[in-house]
């Protein structure tokens, strides 16, 4: 399938358009709100919430008998909320640590959800078909009205986020300061947690409870590499989420037997890997280059200093010294010839005899400057 026909399908094929739109909404909402979860070190809370949503979905279905996404999402949200509440109260009242409470609630809720699902599946009527799509998600089964529900909920969540922008910023970076300013931090915490729950449950249908946590953590972690500012981070995170959602949906629709949820997760993880390596300033590749450049510069400066201090023993600061002496003084034995060649290119040293080197006039000037500034502070 070439790009053009894919684009054509994207615009005019009902299923593909719905799936791509749904995945984009999911990516935007979870990317934006996930930023807060990551910044507040609650990445794994998303994991717990999404697993814990399962019994909520089952109970919502058992109570209402309906499979309308709004009903199921509501059930999921309530269960995710209760799970969060229990985790917090366990941590507050006992000596059990946060990670244990998370793991426990996550798995127990999920187990309970499974029990309910198996009970539902054994009911004689066939109405239950499709509930287990919440396990791994089934983007292909998204209907237009599901996408509309997701978009509505997502817009409400993002609008709320924008309204409380300043407060949530305080909550994420300095809640104590916020409290001294008189903001109701506990209430804001509850609101923000609720928004994150909404972000999670709107995505469940598409990527499923098992992988939903990745959609909360990954776009935000990728965005974090590119910027130190909250606004750009949230914007980027939402963009990454949408990009991953759409590309994952397209990939899985054009290649057979490629499940959507895992494909979206792989796409978003690829963005994370690229960001970790390539983001300017923080990225591994750049910091590797920077380290290398610094190391090289320090080595050259050390060489100049060595030559200068040797020359100080003589009347003439341009006095030549054999390379063997420099080798003795240098920390890395092998790099001496290399460094001398580089210094020669810069016109700071000159070769007097085949094995003897001396500082040039510029070299002397440079060495004096380095010594004045102190080693390693020459920037």
């Amino acid at each position: 399938m070439d790009i053009l026909s894919l684009l054509n399908d994207l615009l005019f094929d009902y299923t593909l358009r719905t799936v791509a739109l749904g995945s984009a909404v999911l990516g935007i909402v979870s990317g934006a709100l996930g930023s807060y979860a990551v910044l507040r070190k609650q990445s794994l809370l998303g994991d717990a919430m999404s697993h814990a949503a399962l019994p909520g979905i089952a109970i919502a279905f058992l109570l209402t008998g309906s499979k309308i996404s709004l009903v199921l999402i509501l059930g999921a949200a309530i269960a995710g909320w209760i799970a969060t509440l229990i985790i917090m109260s366990i941590v507050r009242t006992t000596r059990i640590k946060y990670d244990t409470a998370l793991g426990m609630i996550l798995s127990v809720f999920f187990g309970f959800g499974l029990v309910l699902l198996t009970i539902i599946q054994k009911r004689p009527d066939a109405t239950q078909a499709g509930l287990d799509k919440f396990l791994f998600g089934q983007a292909a089964a998204l209907l237009e009205r599901d996408v509309i529900t997701m978009a509505l909920l997502g817009s409400v969540a993002i609008a709320t986020m924008l309204v409380f922008w300043k407060q949530f910023k305080l909550l994420s970076f300095d809640p104590d300061f916020g409290a001294t300013l008189g903001f109701p931090m506990r209430f804001l915490d509850v609101v923000l947690t609720t928004l994150i729950v909404i972000a999670i449950v709107t995505g469940l249908q598409t990527v499923g409870v098992v992988l939903m946590s990745a959609m909360i953590v990954a776009p935000a972690s990728a965005a974090r590499q590119w910027t130190d500012r909250l606004g750009p981070m949230i914007f980027l995170s939402a963009a990454f989420g949408a990009l991953a959602g759409v590309s994952g949906a397209l990939l899985s629709s054009s290649i057979s037997r490629l499940p959507t949820g895992p494909t979206i997760v792989l796409c978003v993880s690829a963005i994370v890997v690229l960001s970790i390596f390539l983001a300017p300033a923080r990225g591994l590749v750049w910091s590797w280059f920077r380290d290398r450049r610094n190391r090289g510069r320090l080595r050259l400066e050390g060489m100049l200093e060595d030559l200068y201090s040797l020359a100080l023993q003589h009347k003439d600061p341009g006095h030549a010294h054999p390379v063997s002496v420099l080798r003795l003084m240098s920390a890395d034995k092998g790099g001496v010839d290399n460094s001398l060649r580089k210094l020669e290119e810069q016109g700071l040293v000159r070769r007097v005899k085949s094995e003897d080197w001396a500082l040039t006039k510029e070299g002397i000037e440079h060495a004096r400057q380095i010594i004045k500034l102190g080693v390693g502070e020459g920037q």
Binding site: V38, K41, Q42, S43, L44, G46, D47, H51, I90, T93, T94, R95, I96, K97, D99, T100, A101, L102, G103, M104, L106, S107, V108, F109, F110, G111, F112, L114, V115, L116, L117, T118, I119, K122, D132, L135, F136, V210, L211, S213, A214, I216, V217, A218, A220, S221, R224, R257, L258, P259, G261, P262, T263, V265, L266, S269, V272, I276, R282, L284
Partner: protein, 372 residues
């Protein structure tokens, strides 16, 4: 009870005990979520090992999967070392990727064979008795019994051999390092153990409920005891209780066994959480309320003692006066007086309060000796 049912319960109990042992250390070392990451990531290991050897029941599968668990841990640590992502985010980033690759591989290449995602994720204990080990025509029982038995043995040997090292490095990592134990060795040993256990339990209960069995019983045991050895034993007992009661719940509801086991484990935790003798919610609430009355009674006694024999004694000893002086609400003041009366601290006589001899002594002691 049929033979199959007995066998399922034995296997379930074995799985629970095997999971509880490394789980204790995960809980104590604040690495509970690592079990979540490992149990998801081993799916990829199982799939890859299956592609390599084409035999679903080979023990090599377990080793391959366990390696992928350890790999997960090292990737998480590598990611942490870059300091580019937050520590908890690293876990949340790594395992979904490995799990997704596993799911995609199954969906694309292994969909026709006996490796389906649901079974891997949810486990199906009910089928465990059908896969039997036969040697020379003799039926030696279900295979998973032997697999789990072996893993339990490995766990026990590891814990017994390195009990001291595990204990010290868990409770005082600094001391352990100073004594020359290699923290890395213990750490990776434990992670290897968790991986092997997760792989073994995976078949029976699926990847997410492995977490339930690893974390929940130790969490409950943690509220019941302060001794490591008791905690291990208690976790095992709680695990077995959850396993067997979970099995019967599943029979009763005709539901997934592993899910019921997790549900029961959660229920046991809830009971412990509420009613544990020292650390349960009820015990804490009762202690708080006792302390509240004791403190109020003490305050009242000291107040009375303070004004005894002074000109304003009459005024200060009136019940109404307490409300403004000690800022007590009316109902509360009356309750405190009743409490103090029942303890023999004072006598309530027509709106006037008088300390008894014992009450005087009690007040003196409270003032001079803070530890009472």
């Amino acid at each position: 009870m049929s033979g199959e049912q007995i066998e399922i319960q034995i296997i379930a109990s074995l799985v629970a005990v095997t999971c509880a042992i490394p789980g204790v250390f995960l809980v104590l070392r604040r690495m509970a979520m690592m079990s979540d990451a490992i149990s998801h990531a081993i799916l990829l290991g199982i799939v890859l090992a299956f592609f390599a050897i084409h035999d679903i029941s080979s023990p090599l599968l377990i080793i391959g999967a366990a390696l992928s668990g350890v790999l997960t841990v090292s990737i998480v640590e590598l990611l942490n070392k870059t300091k580019l992502v937050k520590e908890d985010a690293a876990i949340g980033l790594v395992f979904p990727v490995l799990f997704s690759i596993g799911v995609i591989l199954i969906a694309r290449y292994a969909w026709s064979i006996h490796l389906d995602v649901h079974a891997v994720l949810l486990g199906e204990l009910a089928f465990a008795p059908f896969d039997r080990l036969t040697v020379g025509g003799f039926d030696l029982g279900p295979k998973s019994l032997y697999v789990m038995g072996t893993i339990l043995l490995i766990n026990l040997i590891f814990i017994l051999l390195f009990y001291k090292e595990l204990k010290i490095s868990t409770f005082d990592a600094g001391l352990a390092a100073a004594l020359g134990f290699s923290p890395g060795l213990i750490h990776y040993g434990l992670m290897g153990l968790v991986s092997v256990t997760a792989v073994g339990a995976f078949d029976a209960v699926g990847s997410i409920l492995v977490v339930a069995l690893m974390v929940t019983p130790p969490a409950a045991a943690y509220l019941l005891t302060d001794k490591l050895s008791y905690m291990i034993i208690l976790s095992a007992v709680i695990g077995v209780v959850s396993a067997i009661s979970g099995f019967w719940l599943a029979i009763l509801l005709d539901a997934n066994i592993a899910g019921s086991m997790a549900t029961m484990a959660g229920l046991v935790f809830l009971i412990v959480f509420l009613f544990a003798p020292d650390r349960g919610i009820v015990a804490i609430a009762r202690r708080r309320s006792r302390q509240r009355w004791e403190f109020a009674g003490k305050m009242l006694a000291i107040h009375l003692l303070n004004h005894e024999g002074t000109p304003d004694e009459k005024r200060e000893s009136q019940v109404e006066h307490l409300e403004e002086n000690l800022c007590w609400k009316e109902g509360f003041a009356n309750k405190v007086i009743k409490y103090a009366e029942s303890k023999g601290i004072l006598i309530h006589d027509r709106g006037m309060l008088r300390l008894t001899g014992y009450g005087r002594e009690y007040a003196m002691k409270s003032v001079t000796d803070e530890s009472t």
